[in-house]
Symmetry: C2
DNA sequence: TAGATTGTTAATCGATTAACAATC
DNA sequence: TAGATTGTTAATCGATTAACAATC
C-alpha cells in the first residue's frame, strides 16, 4: 500500500557502512582544525591525526560528493557542513531512552549525542525506585506512560538500554507508540516490523577485540 | 584496519576482526540455549536468533578450530568453552578507569565487563568533587595516585573515558605506570609506544550509522 | 539407507590500496 | 613552469556466500 513513486532507490547518495563509521572521526578532527583557525586541509595533513591512509579519506569524500582543490585541499567549512548534512546532525531528533541502569544513565548524560543530532528528552523504567527521579537533568517516567507521552511530544525515536530479557517487551511498547527508529543496546535481536528502523549496537564486540589484543600482547611477551 | 599480530605471527590462531566481533553474540545465544537445557545446536538453529547466514557461523567456528558433528551440530559446552578461552574471558583482567563522567560512571557499573574477563577495580579523576566518592561500589582516586596504586595492585590495563583534550595526558600517566593495555573511549588518536596495546572505541560510529538509517527511513516516507 | 548437517573448495562481492593522469 | 594534491581507473586484498562432497 505504501508506494514510492519518486522515492525509489537513489534519492540519497548511498554510502557504505565502513565509510559512514569513519565520518564522525573526520568531523571531530576537522572541527578541531577549524577551531585552530585553519581554512583548508589536505588529506595528507588529515591522516596525521588518523589511522587511515590518505587515499581512503579522499575516496570517502568523493563518495559524499565533496570537491577538493588540487594543491590546496578541501575547504573545512564545506566538508564539515556536508558531513553534518549527510548524517542529519544539523537537525535534532528527539528520543526516549528506556532502561536507566548504568548504561542508560550514562547515555542520558552523554553530551556528544545532543551535539550530534540526538536529544534524549526523557527516560523510562519500571523500577519504582527510579521512576520519578531526574538523571542528568532528564525526568524518568514509568514505561506505561510512554505511548501517551510519545504522541503528545511527537517523539519518534527510542533507545533501548534494558537487559535482553525485557528488550522485546520494550520494543513492542515502542512500536505500539508509533516510534519509527530504535537504537538497541541490548543483546537481543528484536522482532520489528519492516517500517521501523532498528539498529543494534554491539558493545561487547569492542571488548572482544580488546581482549584478544591483550592476549596476543601477553603471548608475545613469553 | 586489520591489525595483524605485528610480531612473529602464528603463536595464536589468527582470527579476523569481523569474526572476533561476532563471538560475543554467539556466546550470548549459546549460553541462553544452554540455560534452556540444550546440549547441541546446529548453525541452522543458531541463526534464528541471529542476523547472519549459517555458513558464516560455520566458517567462524572452523577458524576457531571447533569441530561439529554432522547431523547433530556442535556441542554447546565445547563451543562456549572454546570461545571464552579464545577471548580470554575465563581469566579476569583487573583494570583502572580514568574519567568518571557520564560514560565512565556507566562503565564502572557495567555488569557484562566483570562477567567477561574485565574487572574494573578503581576509578580515577582530577575533579575534587569526584575524588573520594564511590561509584557503583568502586572508589575514585586522584589521578596522581594511579602510578603507585598500579604497582601495588599489579593492575596492567587502563580504560580512558576522559574528554579528548586530556586523553593524551592520561595515556602518558598510564604508560608511565607500566600499563600494557589501553582501551580508549576518547576521540583522540593516542600516541603510545609499540609495546602498549591500544584499542580505540568509536562510539560515535554507531550513532552515525543509526542517524543515516533514520534519514533514509524519513526519505522513503515521502 | 536416507537425510541432515558439517566443512572444504571455489565464486562472488565489497572495501582498500596503488598507479597515475588531471588540475590548479 | 614545477610541485603538490585531487580524483579516476585498475589491482589487490579480504570477507561473505555458494556449491557440494564428506560424514554420521
Amino acid at each position: 500500500m505504501i508506494e514510492s513513486t519518486e522515492g525509489n532507490g537513489h534519492n540519497h547518495k548511498i554510502l557504505r557502512l565502513p565509510t559512514i563509521k569513519r565520518l564522525p572521526t573526520y568531523l571531530h578532527i576537522l572541527k578541531r582544525l577549524q577551531a585552530e583557525g585553519e581554512e583548508y586541509v589536505s588529506t595528507t595533513a588529515l591522516i596525521n591525526e588518523l589511522d587511515f591512509k590518505p587515499i581512503l579519506v579522499r575516496k570517502d569524500l568523493v563518495l559524499m560528493g565533496i570537491p577538493g582543490k588540487p594543491r590546496t585541499g578541501y575547504c573545512l567549512k564545506d566538508i564539515i557542513q556536508a558531513i553534518e548534512k549527510f548524517l542529519g546532525w544539523n537537525n535534532v531528533d528527539e528520543a526516549f531512552l528506556i532502561g536507566t541502569g548504568a548504561l542508560g544513565s550514562a547515555l542520558l548524560g552523554h553530551k556528544p549525542f545532543e551535539e550530534n543530532g540526538l536529544k534524549i528528552v526523557a527516560g523510562f523504567d519500571i523500577d519504582p525506585e527510579r521512576v520519578g527521579k531526574v538523571i542528568h537533568g532528564k525526568k524518568i517516567f514509568h514505561l506505561s506512560k510512554l505511548k501517551e507521552l510519545a504522541h503528545r511530544m511527537g517523539v519518534k525515536v527510542g533507545i533501548i538500554t534494558v537487559p535482553w530479557q525485557s528488550a522485546q517487551e520494550v520494543a513492542d511498547v515502542l512500536i505500539e507508540a508509533g516510534i519509527v527508529g530504535i537504537w538497541n543496546f541490548s543483546m537481543l535481536k528484536l522482532k520489528t516490523p519492516p517500517e521501523v528502523v532498528c539498529h543494534n549496537e554491539n558493545l561487547s564486540g569492542g571488548l572482544a577485540v580488546f581482549s584478544v589484543k591483550l592476549q596476543q600482547r601477553r603471548e608475545n611477551l613469553l
